[in-house]
């Protein structure tokens, strides 16, 4: 089978820092961060759900804050630190929020989970002991069509305890 990668025109490149590694990606103001992550870097843990910023499946951390990658032009992420779901665990050691999602059984199909975990990490970074109301408000932009919201709230509360119990700060 012949190779089918397009005969690429020479393109101006820039560096994107993702999960602690610099990647060379084409400068193209039209391109969303989601497109670059999934299609160029093949980091497919970040999901496409709606393309209009309504579902939160594409959330990633930019300088520690959750943003919707489908609504973020890649240019805005240049020079900043991007963390995707693939970058949260330290080797075999799951991030407390990931651990809490496992323990709470906080997913069904799992497709929204990356965005949920990223949103929760971002929330816990600014509020280490969020109330249920805070969790609801902070995560209302994330959809779970399987209806796992109560488990997810439980997972975020567990993560909050795991983080404080371990004495470690949530990155």
């Amino acid at each position: 089978m012949p190779s089918s990668e397009p005969a690429a025109r020479p393109r101006a490149m820039t560096k994107l820092r993702v999960n602690g590694t610099d990647h060379s990606v084409p400068i193209d103001p039209d391109r969303s961060l989601l497109y670059v992550l999934r299609e160029e870097l093949r980091l497919t843990g970040t999901k496409y759900g709606c393309g209009e910023g309504e579902c939160g499946a594409c959330k990633v951390l930019v300088d520690g804050v959750a943003v919707r990658a489908c609504q973020t032009p890649v240019g805005e992420a240049v020079g900043r630190s991007i963390v995707t779901i693939e970058g949260l665990a330290q080797g075999e050691h799951l991030h407390p929020v990931q651990q809490a999602f496992v323990e709470a059984g906080a997913f069904q199909c799992g497709f929204c989970t990356s965005g949920m975990i990223i949103a929760a990490v971002s929330l816990l970074a600014r509020s280490s002991q969020p109330s249920v109301e805070e969790i609801r408000a902070a995560m209302d932009g994330n959809l779970c069509r399987c209806g796992g919201y109560l488990r997810i709230i439980d997972a975020v509360q567990r993560a909050s305890r795991l983080s404080s119990g371990a004495g470690g700060a949530v990155p």
């Binding site: 089978m1 089918s4 299609e39 665990a89 999602f101 199909c109």
Partner: protein, 700 residues
């Protein structure tokens, strides 16, 4: 990732000719041949289905194969627990392959809550037989009577001598295929030690680390991205199309084969550009709109199609009973078209290798997809392999195979693998919907409230849960399919949601008319003890206090029951409707009984999640359409439940280890809408008879 070498799919070969050992190494294989469905069951009259096989290898692991698929409903872990239970293995030593048409037994599809009663039972039988063969092998190896051999944690041990041998040792060098004997005896649920206990999902780590690969995540070297040209409105016919501008784009392939017009391009953005470059002329015909839909469906009856279950049930003399009744009531209830809106849109990847086609497809019906693709491309079914990767939910929405056919045709024309993933807008407009339902009910009762007649007619939705769980002497129940202007088909708890909403709302209306308490009134008429138990349990947990008439105090409580697919549910809802009429669901208590519980952690998730999904259809989900156009094809215009919508939901699971395990994915949805409608009535005195109840969030 590459396609498999050419093989004849296992299900198309007799058990002894299947290359189990070439594929999985030496060992013991035990096969349950496909079976005729239980004539009393949901799939009555269909082709033989199901079957299972289990391979125990020299590594001591059990590989089990089943034709059902996992699309997020948690059956992979539940079914694996049953295999672990029968084989006395840790869960980590069980590998379950689901829905791979090269390797798995033929299955009609994953729908109708059949995974636990069918695949679960098949794996239990196959597991029990495997255990017996392992015991016999161990008896010979350990020079002990089979009755003296004990299996535990992957090891066989002779009770008297204390000698033991691992399963892997027992099957070393073995290449033996056995059939499940008719007297195979699965471990009864009352003796379960692994199944029936809380367990973590077997794929949890991949999910939380972002490493689970869904179909839309797959990538093969050389892969192109495909897009299909769809009509601008339902029913529009293609008059002409000019592919030339698309074909002129670098690396783009454009095809027009039969009804299919599609493009493939080296990257997704180029694929969208190619789609835009197609010049198509369409001929649209006027289509009925939302505002006239009820009358349209009433006037366009059709013969039933495959997905409609039909009911025509008549007992007693309904006409005579109405003639003499002191109390009678006639009302109509409707439910809207709604979308599945799975988080992962429909996705497929097709790849040809040496004339054989492999299709990775997020589907609930892989074997039907094999048939559809092989028919469309004029291939032998043995030259098509469907693999079902982890799928971002289905809810009855992933039954069709058109996208697989499109990807296969594109891949053939382009000479490269092609992936097609629906955009969210395509997902909303080019899939199919839950059918709208129009339900007419007429009932009669004695002065003391005793129901004497029940006439129930459901239009367009289907027969599920149309039958009465109540004792009524004179009944006439039937359904009538209609010519739906919108594409419609399977949906999680499809007709059961509509029929249960209508029945449980109407029953509440009759109870109010005769001044009876809704719980007492149901218990007085219930013909099913198991359902009565669920209702009593929920009423007690919810702190139900009798209310013969609505309080209309702005705060209300409602209750409803449902019996469908051998599951029993009762749901209690408490609502607040303040002066501004803005509805708040304050609390839900729901009880569910589906026989012996296999995987309580997951069942609880299914009941909670199903309740949330049902709240969407109950309160605000509706597809809006006008003259063939879908007006709200996005999450910003089609509202689904969010965090802020969810009240505390208390789930009570009633375990019945003495009864066969039934599915839990659908029935927990069906009492939610009527419970809320009944609570709104209690709060306001206003009876709402159409779903969604509060499209703009307020009680009208």
């Amino acid at each position: 990732m590459t396609a498999s070498p050419a093989v004849i799919p296992f299900d198309l070969l007799p058990p002894n000719e299947r290359p189990y050992f070439d594929r999985f190494g030496n060992g013991l294989v035990v096969v349950l041949p496909p079976r005729q469905p239980d004539p009393s069951g949901w799939g009555a009259g269909g082709p033989p289905h199901g079957g299972a096989w289990i391979h125990v290898g020299e590594d001591g692991k059990a590989r089990a194969f089943i034709g059902k698929v996992e699309v997020g409903q948690g059956t992979r872990t539940a079914l694996s627990l049953l295999v672990a239970e029968e084989l006395r293995l840790p869960l980590s030593s069980v590998e379950l392959t689901m829905g791979d048409t090269d390797l798995c037994p033929w299955d009609m599809g994953t729908f109708g809550s059949r995974s636990m009663p069918d695949a679960g039972e098949h794996l239990r039988l196959t597991g029990a037989a495997t255990r017996t063969f392992l015991t016999e092998l161990a008896a010979v190896r350990l020079s002990a009577a089979p009755t003296e051999v004990e299996l535990a944690e992957g090891t066989a041990k002779a009770r008297d001598s204390g000698r033991s041998v691992r399963y892997g040792e027992l099957v070393k060098g073995l290449r033996r295929v056995e059939l499940v004997p008719s007297d195979a005896k699965p471990n009864p649920p009352s003796k379960w030690t692994r199944a029936g206990r809380p367990a973590q999902d077997v794929g949890a780590r991949e999910v939380v680390t972002g490493n689970r690969r869904y179909t839309s995540d797959l990538h093969i070297p050389g892969m192109l991205h495909g897009k299909v040209l769809f009509p601008p409105s339902c029913g529009a016919k293609l008059r002409s199309v000019d592919l030339s501008r698309a074909q002129a784009l670098p690396g783009v392939t454009a095809i027009h084969e039969g009804d299919l017009v599609a493009v493939a391009a080296p990257d997704l953005r180029m694929a969208f550009a190619a789609l835009k470059a197609l010049r198509a002329e369409w001929e649209a015909t006027p289509q009925p709109s939302e505002k006239e839909i009820v009358e349209y469906l009433r006037h366009h009856p059709v013969e039933g199609e495959d997905f409609w279950d039909m009911v025509h049930h008549e007992t007693g003399d309904v006409g005579a009973a109405f003639g003499s009744a002191p109390v009678s009531l006639r009302e109509t209830y409707t439910t809207a078209y709604i979308a599945h809106a799975p988080m992962e849109t429909r996705a497929v990847l097709a790849s040809w290798e040496d004339g054989r086609l492999t299709v990775w497809l997020g589907t609930q019906t892989p074997f039907r997809a094999r048939e559809a693709v092989s028919d469309a491309l004029e291939l032998s079914p043995s030259n098509v392999r469907i693999i079902v990767p982890p799928t971002g939910s289905g809810f009855g929405g992933k039954h069709t195979s058109d996208l697989a056919v499109a990807a296969a045709r594109l891949a053939k024309a382009a000479g490269h693998p092609v992936r097609v993933v629906f955009s969210r807008e395509e997902e909303f407009t080019q899939a199919y919907f839950r059918p709208m339902a129009v339900v007419d009910i007429r009932s009669a009762a004695e002065q003391d409230g005793t129901l004497t007649a029940w006439e129930f007619h459901v239009l367009n939705a289907g027969a599920s849960a149309a039958r009465l769980p109540y004792r009524v002497a004179n009944q006439k129940i039937d359904n009538q399919p209609s010519d739906s202007p919108l594409s419609q088909a399977s949906y999680r708890a499809l007709a059961a949601t509509a029929n249960n909403f209508a029945r449980e709302s109407h029953l509440d209306e009759v109870a109010a008319r005769v001044g009876a308490d809704p719980v007492e009134y149901r218990l007085r008429h219930l013909a099913d003890d198991r359902l009565a138990t669920v209702l009593r349990t929920v009423a007690e947990r919810a702190g139900w206090s009798p209310r013969p008439a609505p309080a209309a105090s702005g705060s209300g409580r409602g209750i409803a029951v449902g019996l469908e697919k051998e599951g029993r549910v009762a749901t209690f809802a408490e609502v607040r409707v303040p002066e501004d009429r803005h509805l708040e669901v304050v609390r839900i208590v729901t009880g569910f009984e589906c026989g012996a519980i296999v995987h309580p952690t997951n069942l609880r998730s299914q009941v909670e999640g199903g309740t949330v999904m049902a709240m969407g259809g109950a309160l605000f989900e509706a597809i809006h359409f006008e003259n063939g156009r879908i007006l709200n094809p996005s999450f910003s215009r089609y509202r689904v439940p969010r965090f802020r919508d969810i009240p505390p939901i208390e789930v009570i699971l009633l375990d019945r280890p003495d009864l066969p395990s039934q599915g839990g994915g659908e029935t927990p949805l069906i009492a939610v809408a009527p419970a809320i409608a009944n609570a709104i009535y209690d709060a306001t005195g206003k009876r709402l008879r159409s779903l969604p109840l509060t499209p703009d969030g307020t009680v009208p």
